[in-house]
């Protein structure tokens, strides 16, 4: 069994016996802390946004998430991850939670938690599924259902940038949901679509409103070609939502020639 030699690079073969001591700042970052709910509002009949004041919150990056931990009086514990919906520039941390039937945590967050309550969380977490301006564009965002949440943080981060920065980075969002009423942040997304360099496309898979002329089917290769950029234009792609959707879209993009390293994925599990 090999062990890391002192002074070696960060590459490791097998985990060494002795763990490095945590730096104070790292330890503070990974600690659990109690946030306070300052506002709640419903985005759709099934999705609610919680706006939180988090003490000593380090600025997060768009795409990161928090782990939320609930402990009951009887000691019963449950823990879930939620993507941060707010821009890094915002003072408060917003989470958008989709209420899943027969679940443990989301019904509590959607039905019981109220303004003034404490909520224990740790974060921000994640470094892979993040985007900020330093990465540049073009930026292609593909969301299914509640997968829109981390991508919304990216769009909100984008909206804080200068007009000059935004002119450099074109953004396209393809967002699939069952119905018009299931689209989370719909009004805000329609406002984003008014930006000169931003295109927002919805596809509704179960039913469409009267007069709908948009897409009404599952995302397929043709739709990705029509809505996104070609592989030759080397877009940064972020795909988030239910596992089957994410894998289907990622596979189609790689088959169309996109570099797998530029197609970043975040799976949310089975379709809700």
């Amino acid at each position: 069994m090999t062990t890391a030699t002192p002074g070696a690079s960060s590459a490791i073969g097998v985990i060494p016996d002795v763990m490095a001591e945590l730096q104070t700042t790292e330890a503070a970052r990974i600690a659990w802390r109690v946030a306070t709910v300052v506002q709640v509002h419903d985005e759709t009949p099934r999705a609610r946004t919680l706006v939180l004041d988090v003490p000593q919150w380090p600025r997060h990056r768009a795409g990161q998430h928090v782990d939320v931990r609930l402990v009951g009086e009887d000691g019963y514990q449950a823990q879930r991850s939620y993507s941060i919906a707010s821009a890094p520039e915002d003072a408060h941390v917003a989470l958008t939670v989709e209420r899943l039937d027969d679940a443990e945590v989301s019904p509590y967050l959607c039905d019981v938690l109220q303004v003034g309550d404490g909520l224990e969380l740790r974060g921000p977490i994640g470094g892979y599924f993040v985007w900020d301006f330093s990465q540049g564009g073009p930026l292609f965002l593909v969301a299914g259902g509640s997968g829109i949440v981390p991508l919304m943080a990216m769009l909100r981060h984008y909206a804080h940038a200068s007009a000059a920065d935004r002119a450099r980075v074109p953004v396209r969002l393809l967002y699939t949901a069952r119905t018009w009423d299931d689209l989370i942040y719909r009004a805000e997304l329609e406002q984003f679509a008014a930006h000169p360099n931003v295109r927002v496309t919805f596809t509704l898979t179960r039913s469409t409103p009267a007069g709908w002329t948009g897409y009404d089917r599952r995302i397929d290769a043709a739709m990705l070609r029509e809505v996104g950029w070609s592989a030759a234009e080397v877009p940064h792609v972020f795909v988030c939502g239910p596992t089957p959707l994410v894998e289907s879209v990622a596979t189609l993009l790689v088959e169309a020639g996109h570099d797998p390293l530029l197609v970043r994925t975040e799976r949310f599990g089975p379709t809700a």
Binding site: V71, D74, Y76, A78, D102, E104, E120
Partner: protein, 210 residues
């Protein structure tokens, strides 16, 4: 010493409405049948499937699917308890009892004298360890039917181990054989801290739980 936890106002475990004595401590009843898998679902064709009982000396008895089906069938109805806290009552199975299997293996020359434990091994590489006493005496089956139909792949089909008196991670999915052991060798989850025995009535979830 553990940090003092923050208590979430109004948060509690799901209410236990099951008849007293039916639900082990810390569990809740579900009407669903949640799928938990440590890896992708293997898809073994019945023509390629076999089941092996092997002793520590390397002697083994092997059954093809058809041979296995010729062993006596039983149809146990049992409660099952997952370490992730759900329990499901009155699940109906069809399978061969491990007693019948080991008896048939003995007649084929497999030596069980020194065996005190078994390791179940499965397609996809999953393993779990059990005491021989926990899979004999009518306590365990190799099950290929669930709820009156062939066991679906996501629930362990073609066949899985069924040991309902222990936490359900011991009921290894996609089982392909039993290795008789003189010593207890922690399997896939046990290596990572889950209990070697796993009795839900004593809440033996993790290594070190009494």
């Amino acid at each position: 010493m553990a940090d003092k936890p923050f208590i979430a106002r109004g948060f509690h475990a799901r209410r236990a409405s099951a008849p007293p004595g039916r639900l082990p401590p810390g569990q809740y009843e579900t009407r669903d049948f949640p799928v938990l898998s440590a890896g992708p679902t293997p898809r073994t064709a019945l023509a390629a499937w076999d089941f092996t009982v092997r002793d520590s000396g390397g002697r083994s008895a092997r059954w093809s699917w058809d041979d296995f089906q010729a062993l006596p069938h039983e149809t146990p109805t049992v409660d099952i308890h997952c370490v992730t806290k759900w329990s499901k009552f009155d699940t109906m199975w069809e399978g061969v009892s491990v007693d019948a299997l080991l008896s048939a293996a003995r007649t084929r020359g497999v030596n069980m004298t020194d065996a005190r434990f078994v390791t179940a091994f499965c397609d996809g590489g999953y393993t779990t360890n059990l005491a021989l006493a926990d899979v004999t005496g009518g306590k365990a089956w190799v099950a290929f039917g669930y709820d009156g139909a062939p066991l679906p792949p996501e629930h362990g089909g073609p066949a899985r181990l069924l040991v309902p008196h222990l936490y359900f991670w011991k009921s290894a999915k996609w089982v392909r054989g039993l290795q008789l052991m003189e010593r207890d060798e922690p399997g896939f989850w046990e290596q990572l801290g889950y209990h070697d025995h796993g009795d839900p009535w004593r809440e033996q979830r993790y290594r070190g739980d009494p």
